[in-house]
Every structure is written in structure tokens, then in C-alpha cells.
């Protein structure tokens, strides 16, 4: 079911799209582009406002930018632009776009001028408006009232009897120099003004504006201009600080006035004056505008501009003081810097006070006192620094400079405070409570720099030195390897010893024999003759047994002789060995007296025999 619905929906879309295409193919989509310039009146009195509406319609109207407002020379001055509107309609499939923009002009000079044809173009389509002729008349001639409900027949003269003027204190000022602009209303005795209200505030692009308070009842005074008495009042006063150099325009101020006009005009009637009261009169509403005002803003001279120029223009004084000159550590001192004068007080920057790092410091407290009057803005700005010295001694704070431009003398001026000297004595260690929990000062990095050079140098090495290319390095690698190889070889030898008894006995034979001989030598004495020969015999037999891997106990000389012969030894060697053994045996069992020399000789012979046998085997 849902699926069916969906399909139907698709169909409907399709048909709609189809229709749109069909119509777009058949019908012309839109009307051609057209432009119209419409004025609310063609005759305008000096100082009155003219409303010009530029209306675009047709194809592409919503895509074309509004044309620039036409320049109407000296007769009519552009006072500003009103709102714009756009209107899109679909009628029987046709789209029509209409959009319009409103411009306001103020009549300035008598004469006739023409709003030229205004041209626009969109995609090769061009359109131009019809020129419109405007007549600017002086007051006296009837002007079409601007009020929504014009009252026919009423003749309200406003050109010369009621007008506003924007009066600047100066026409040429320096950048940031204040200029007071008064909007003054002039009213002759003829006009009976009951009340007024401001309907359009002057635009002041490129200015920093400060209003001067006037109150509901501005002071009124009288002046005679060209023999005509006028009542004057400043209804609005603005202090303007131009932000950048160049020609700047202050827009017009517009007010709505209610003017009382008497209804009956009976000539010479005795009651004329009698009836000239509100009861018999009516009120006419009227709008009047001031002329736009042009101000020439000069750039600040580059010549002599101090590096630390604050940007302030005016006249200033600086005053700086510390509340104490002697203080104990951790006691607060207040340093107050006050800059007073006329000029833009608000833009006075924080002075570049360099506080030594030995002070605990807080952000300065800033207070402003500003008075706005006819001379511009004046007042003072105070910076209050709370400083808490942490260490005893004499502390100096460098002077503070403040520079500004004096537009009267046309020079830059620099104000300097004296150097602040503070004598700090050792006080209690406790920090006077300042809301901060700090009790000890960390070493604060005031500046950043590299560390100092090394004063001595060790280990000067050749530039081509490479650690891994040195002989010693390779030696250090190889030597342990050699040691390891030695250890492995020695271990193999030990293993052989323990594994092979014959090899072990053979390796040990010499050592054992020599041990026995050494013992025999200690017995080399007549008293121990027997023991001496026993040891010699043991050495000889033991050596041979060890070498041949025989049991020493069962060995007899004949057997030995045969075994030695089998090894193909020299006969003389065997015989000598045998004889020595026989002598030993003989001496052991049937000792004959022998001299010490003979015994010595015997010892020598035995040793030689063992050495010879060792060599031979």
C-alpha cells in the first residue's frame, strides 16, 4: 500500500516537472528588464528633502545590482539612502520581480536640474530610465509639503524662516583631534514652532563620536541675521574624533516639526489678533534637514613623531607619584600616574611602566573621568599600580614617558615623569595579604639569552678522530676473544685429562717422578741411605709405569725391559735404566756403605735417565 502511494507521488512529481518544462517552452518566462526613476515631487524648496526611488523590474531584476545614485551637482546633495525592497510575484505561471531602492537628496541651490537617464544591463538586455527634471526653488515659492497629509492652501515658509545648520567648530582638523559639531535650529519670528523631534540622525562614518548632553530644553538665544531676527537653539551637539585622514562627510540631521498656522486670514480685522489663538489655528507637520557637512582631516605630521607616540591628540599633563618613599619589605606601595587634559581621554594607553622583577605586581587599576563640553572632551585617566617590594634595598623604577600631538602648536610633545626611588627596609617576613597565596618568589626569567662560554677546554682531539676507527677499539674487541679462545683450549685439555687415564698418567708422569726425586734429594744423607734409594727406585719405576700405563705394584725390571723394547727404544737407554733399578734394589735390601758423593752421582743419573726416557717416549 505504501509502495503504491510512493509510486503515485513520483508520478505527480513527474507530471509537475513536465508541466513546468512545457510552460517554460511555450510562454515567455518573464517581462523584459525595465528601470524607473520616481521622485516624490518635482519642485522642491531649498533645504527640503527629495526622495528618489529607483525601481527595477522584469527579467534579471533580482540579479542586477542597484545602480549608483546619480550625482545632481550643486542643486541637490545626496543625504543618504533609505531602505530597499524586493517583491516577487507569480501570476499565471509568470514570475515578476520588482525591487526598489530609495535615496534622499537635500536641495541646496536654486535652479533646475535633471536626473539623468539611469542605465542598467543584464545578459545583453539593456534598460534605461526616463530623465526627470527637478526644479529647486527658493523659499517663498510654494513648496510641496513633505508631510503625509498635505494641507492645500497653507503656505508654510520654511526655507528662510526655519532651517537647521550643522556648524563645526573647525573645518580642518588633525586626525584624532576632536571637533565639536553643533546642529543649530534657526527660527524667525514668523514661524510658530510648537515642538520637534529628530527623525534622522547624521551618519558619521570614520569618526569616533561622543554626544554632549543637552537635555530636553536646549538653551535658546536670539540673533539678527541680515536684519532678520532669529531664535536659535543647539538641538544636538556631537564631539567627533576623525579616525583616519582625508575628506570626511557628516550626514544631514533631519527633524520633524509641528508648525502652527492660523486658519483664517482676515485682513485688518479687529478680532484678528484675538482669534489668533490655538483654537482657531491648526498644526502643520514638516520635515527639515541640515546640509551634509564636509570636514577635512589632516594626517599627523611624520616629522618629529616620537617612537612611543600614544596616538593621543590634544593637550595633556602628566602627574605621577608614589604614596611612600620609605617602605618595609612586603608592604604595598601605590604608584599613581594621572594623565589629564583635553583630547580623547579614552584612548590613552597604559603607560609602559617597567617594574623591576623584585616587586610583586598587579595589573593597574584604571579610572577615567570624562567631561564633555563645547570645547570637546576633557578629563583625566588615572593608572594605579600596587607594588609589593620583596627584597630590601634601594629600588628604582625608570621614568615613564607619554607623548601626544598638540594640534594648536602643531608639534609632538613628550611628558616624562621623574625616576621613582623607593627605599625598602627589611620588614616582617610575612607577606601582607594581597589575596595571593605566594609566599616565596620564584626566580623569574626576565630575559632570555644563551649561557656563557666555557673558559677551559679539555680533550682536544684531532678533527678526523672517529672512536670506532681507533686501534685500541679493535684491540679491546680482539683481546677478550683471544682470552676466550685460550680458556676454551685449556678446558679441552682438562677434559682430555679427566677422560683418558693413560693420557693423564703419561702427562703427570714427569711431575710425579720429579716430586719423588725431590724427596730423595732431601734424604741425601748417610743415615737415610735406605730411604734414599727407595725413593729413587719409586721414581724410576713409577715414571715408567705411568708412561706405559701399568700398575706400579706389579712391575718388575724384566717385564719393564720387554715393554720398553716393544716401544723400540734405544738399547743403551733400556740397559742404563735397568742397571739403575738394580743398583737401587741392591742398596735397598743389602745396603753397602756409600759416600755422599756416590749417592749424589746416583741421583744425577736417575734424573738423566728419566729425562732421556721422557724424550724418547
Amino acid at each position: 500500500m505504501i509502495r503504491v502511494m510512493k509510486n503515485r507521488n513520483h508520478q505527480i512529481y513527474f507530471i509537475t516537472v513536465l508541466f513546468i518544462f512545457m510552460f517554460s517552452g511555450v510562454l515567455p518566462a518573464q517581462e523584459p528588464l525595465s528601470i524607473r526613476a520616481v521622485v516624490d515631487r518635482t519642485t522642491v524648496a531649498v533645504n527640503q528633502q527629495l526622495m528618489l526611488t529607483i525601481e527595477l523590474s522584469g527579467e534579471g531584476a533580482n540579479k542586477v545590482d542597484y545602480p549608483a545614485p546619480p550625482d545632481l551637482g550643486d542643486y541637490l546633495k545626496l543625504a543618504g539612502s533609505g531602505g530597499n525592497s524586493q517583491n516577487i510575484q507569480f501570476i499565471n505561471g509568470r514570475m515578476s520581480v520588482t525591487k526598489s531602492q530609495v535615496y534622499f537628496y537635500i536641495a541646496a541651490m536654486e535652479g533646475t536640474c535633471t536626473i539623468p537617464s539611469i542605465k542598467i544591463s543584464y545578459k545583453n538586455n539593456e534598460a534605461a530610465s526616463e530623465p526627470v527634471t527637478i526644479t529647486v526653488i527658493n523659499s517663498g515659492a510654494p513648496a510641496t509639503p513633505a508631510t503625509p497629509a498635505p494641507t492645500p492652501g497653507s503656505e508654510v515658509d520654511t526655507g528662510e524662516d526655519l532651517f537647521i545648520k550643522a556648524i563645526p567648530a573647525k573645518r580642518t582638523v588633525y586626525q584624532n583631534e576632536p571637533v565639536v559639531v553643533s546642529f543649530r535650529i534657526y527660527k524667525s519670528a514668523k514661524v510658530n514652532l510648537t515642538n520637534y523631534g529628530i527623525n534622522k540622525l547624521p551618519e558619521s562614518v570614520g569618526f569616533w563620536a561622543e554626544e554632549i548632553e543637552i537635555g530636553n530644553q536646549p538653551p535658546v538665544w536670539e540673533e539678527t541675521i541680515n536684519g532678520k531676527k532669529f531664535v536659535l537653539a543647539d538641538i544636538k551637539k556631537t564631539i567627533l574624533f576623525p579616525a583616519s585622514p582625508g575628506k570626511k562627510t557628516i550626514g544631514s540631521l533631519g527633524i520633524d516639526c509641528n508648525i502652527r498656522v492660523s486658519t483664517q486670514k482676515r485682513s485688518n480685522d479687529i478680532f484678528d489678533s484675538f482669534f489668533d489663538d490655538p483654537f482657531f489655528s491648526r498644526t502643520v507637520r514638516k520635515s527639515i534637514f541640515s546640509q551634509p557637512l564636509e570636514i577635512n582631516v589632516l594626517p599627523l605630521p611624520l616629522e618629529g613623531k616620537p617612537a612611543n607616540f600614544s596616538g593621543c591628540v590634544g593637550r595633556f599633563d602628566m602627574d605621577a607619584a608614589m604614596d611612600k618613599s620609605h617602605v618595609k619589605t612586603n608592604e604595598a606601595v601605590t604608584l599613581r600616574i594621572k594623565i589629564a587634559g583635553t583630547g580623547n581621554i579614552k584612548i590613552i594607553p597604559k603607560p609602559d611602566l617597567v617594574i623591576p622583577a623584585d616587586f610583586q605586581q598587579y595589573d593597574p587599576k584604571t579610572t577615567e573621568n570624562i567631561v564633555r563640553n563645547n570645547d570637546g572632551v576633557s578629563g583625566n585617566k588615572t593608572f594605579e599600580y600596587v607594588l609589593v617590594p620583596r627584597f630590601p634595598g634601594e629600588q628604582r623604577i625608570r621614568p615613564v614617558e607619554f607623548s601626544y600631538f598638540d594640534p594648536y602648536g602643531k608639534v609632538y610633545k613628550t611628558l616624562t615623569t621623574p625616576e621613582f626611588v623607593l627605599t625598602v627596609e627589611k620588614g616582617s617576613d610575612e607577606l601582607v595579604s594581597m589575596g595571593s597565596g605566594l609566599s616565596k618568589e620564584e626566580v623569574r626569567l626576565v630575559g632570555q639569552d644563551i649561557r656563557f662560554i666555557k673558559l677551559t677546554t679539555r680533550n682536544l682531539i684531532p678533527g678526523s678522530f672517529k672512536f670506532y676507527n681507533q686501534f685500541l677499539f679493535f684491540a679491546a674487541i680482539l683481546l677478550p676473544l683471544l682470552a676466550l679462545a685460550g680458556a676454551v683450549g685449556y678446558n679441552r685439555h682438562l677434559t682430555k685429562l679427566s677422560a683418558n687415564v693413560a693420557y693423564a698418567r703419561s702427562r703427570r708422569a714427569n711431575t710425579m717422578a720429579m716430586k719423588k726425586l725431590a724427596r730423595a734429594k732431601s734424604l741425601l744423607d748417610e743415615n737415610t741411605q735406605k730411604e734414599f734409594f727407595a725413593e729413587i727406585s719409586h721414581a724410576l719405576l713409577g715414571f715408567a709405569a705411568d708412561k706405559l700405563n701399568l700398575a706400579q705394584a706389579g712391575i718388575i725390571s724384566d717385564e719393564l725391559e720387554e715393554l720398553l723394547k716393544k716401544r723400540q727404544l734405544d738399547d743403551s737407554l733400556i740397559q742404563e735404566y735397568k742397571e739403575l733399578l738394580q743398583v737401587c734394589d741392591f742398596q735397598r735390601f743389602a745396603p753397602a756403605d756409600m759416600s755422599r758423593e756416590q749417592m749424589q752421582d746416583m741421583f744425577k743419573k736417575a734424573k738423566e735417565a728419566i729425562i732421556n726416557l721422557e724424550k724418547a717416549l
Binding site: 644563551i450 649561557r451 666555557k454 680533550n459 682536544l460 682531539i461 684531532p462 672512536f467 670506532y468 682470552a483
Partner: protein
């Protein structure tokens, strides 16, 4: 005969004389540095290096002098050279960090895995010589344990030696890996520092080719190849380009 002997004596003494000259020039450089004449200090330190002898202190002081004369590239170059000779001197590292703050270019290194970072940090603690000594110590220790194990008669001593040898072997493998890697990079990888204010890196070793990026003084690069008057360089972020050989000095 006599002349030959004298020549021999001179040959033997020559290195000593050069070292003496290097020390004299070093001290003179220090004097000029302390009096604030950094250009003169640079001159004398360079003279000291010209003898063919070097030391970490000499390169460090030269780096300081270049920093004070505003040549950040050369100061970084010399701090890097000093660091190669003495990797653990905190002053060298501090001044190098300060000098590097003045580098205009910020080259983002791609983030590395934690163990790569750990490995690099560990390797950076030691210079080649330290690593070599450490490796040698473990090497000798290991061999001593092996020998003890082989030769000792006592079963207890054998067992202790065997147990002790295993961790020493692990450490030995680890340090020798670090050491060999370092020796390899010392031989094959050439680092360089840009010593001119600004240099354009092109896509090929010729002038007027497409400029890929621009480097400023003090940037550290890896120099991988040379072709004529051009060097192929690689940045820490992986970008590769060719620059004039004179713009970079090898550390």
C-alpha cells in the same frame, strides 16, 4: 743522519705544538668574547679549529659567538657539532634550544610510535663514544662470565656465572645494536644546517625549476645526495628537494 733525526723529533712533537696553538687561540677567543667583540672571538675560535684539533668546548664557544653576531644558522651548526662530542652537557643543549627558537620555519615531524620515540630518546642520551664504551664493558663482562663458567671447578660458581651471563648478553646485544646503528648513520647519514638567510628548494638539481619549498636559516636537514653544485635534502617532515650546496653546511 743528524737532519733525519731532527726531522723525526719534529714529526713527533708536531701534534703537541698544534694542540698548544689551538689552546692559545681558544683562550684569545674567550678574551674577545668576554670583552664583547664577538666577531673577533669567532675569528680566533675558527683559527683554533684550523689547527685540526677540536673539542666540545671549542665548538660551543664558537656557537655562542655566532649567536651573538646574529648568525643563527652557524651557531646551531656549531652547537650540533659540540653535541656530537659531548651529548650530555646541559649548557650545549640549552643554548641549542634557545638558538632554535629563532628558526623561522616550523617543520612538523610526523608523529612517531611510542617505542620509536623511546628508542630515539635513549639513543640520544649517548654519543658514539659513550655507546662504544658501554658496549665494550658489557662485551668484556660477558666474556669474563663465559670464561669463569668454562674454567671454574665449583658447580656453584659455574651456575652463578651462567645466570649472570644471560642478562649481560641481552644488554650487550641491545647496546651493540644501538652502537652499530649509530656508527652506520655516522658514516652514511649526513646532517646539515641551513646557514643562509633563505634558500629555495627545487624539484631537480638545476636553477629555475619549480620551487617546492623555501627554507630559512638554522633548519636541520638530512643531506642524501650531491649532484654538481646541488644537494638533495630531506626534511624532518619527509619533504625532499634540491638546494644550492653553499646554503647548507654538513655538521
Amino acid at each position: 743522519m743528524k737532519i733525519a733525526t731532527i726531522a723525526w723529533i719534529f714529526l713527533l712533537l708536531a701534534p703537541k705544538a698544534e694542540v698548544g696553538k689551538a689552546v692559545t687561540d681558544f683562550n684569545k677567543g674567550n678574551e674577545f668574547y668576554q670583552s664583547g667583540d664577538y666577531n673577533k672571538a669567532v675569528e680566533y675560535y675558527e683559527l683554533a679549529l684550523h689547527t685540526g684539533y677540536m673539542s666540545a668546548e671549542l665548538y660551543y664557544n664558537l656557537g655562542n659567538s655566532y649567536y651573538k653576531t646574529g648568525q643563527v644558522g652557524r651557531s646551531i651548526l656549531n652547537y650540533e657539532r659540540a653535541k656530537r662530542l659531548d651529548s650530555r652537557d646541559p649548557d650545549i643543549q640549552y643554548n641549542l634550544d634557545i638558538a632554535q627558537l629563532r628558526i623561522v620555519d616550523k617543520i612538523n615531524e610526523p608523529p612517531q610510535l611510542f617505542y620509536v620515540r623511546f628508542w630515539n630518546k635513549l639513543a640520544g642520551l649517548f654519543n658514539i663514544r659513550d655507546l662504544g664504551y658501554i658496549t665494550l664493558v658489557f662485551y668484556v663482562l660477558f666474556i669474563v662470565f663465559v670464561i669463569v663458567r668454562i674454567l671454574s671447578r665449583s658447580m656453584v660458581v659455574k651456575k652463578v656465572a651462567k645466570i649472570a651471563a644471560i642478562p649481560v648478553l641481552v644488554l650487550l646485544l641491545f647496546t651493540s645494536l644501538l652502537f652499530l646503528q649509530r656508527v652506520n648513520s655516522d658514516i652514511h647519514v649526513k646532517h646539515g644546517i641551513v646557514i643562509v638567510d633563505k634558500v629555495d628548494a627545487t624539484s631537480s638539481p638545476s636553477q629555475g625549476d619549480t620551487i617546492i619549498f623555501t627554507l630559512h636559516e638554522g633548519v636541520k636537514v638530512v643531506v642524501s645526495e650531491q649532484s654538481g653544485d646541488y644537494l638533495e635534502i630531506k626534511l624532518a617532515d619527509g619533504n625532499i628537494g634540491w638546494i644550492r650546496a653553499g646554503a647548507v653546511e654538513i655538521i
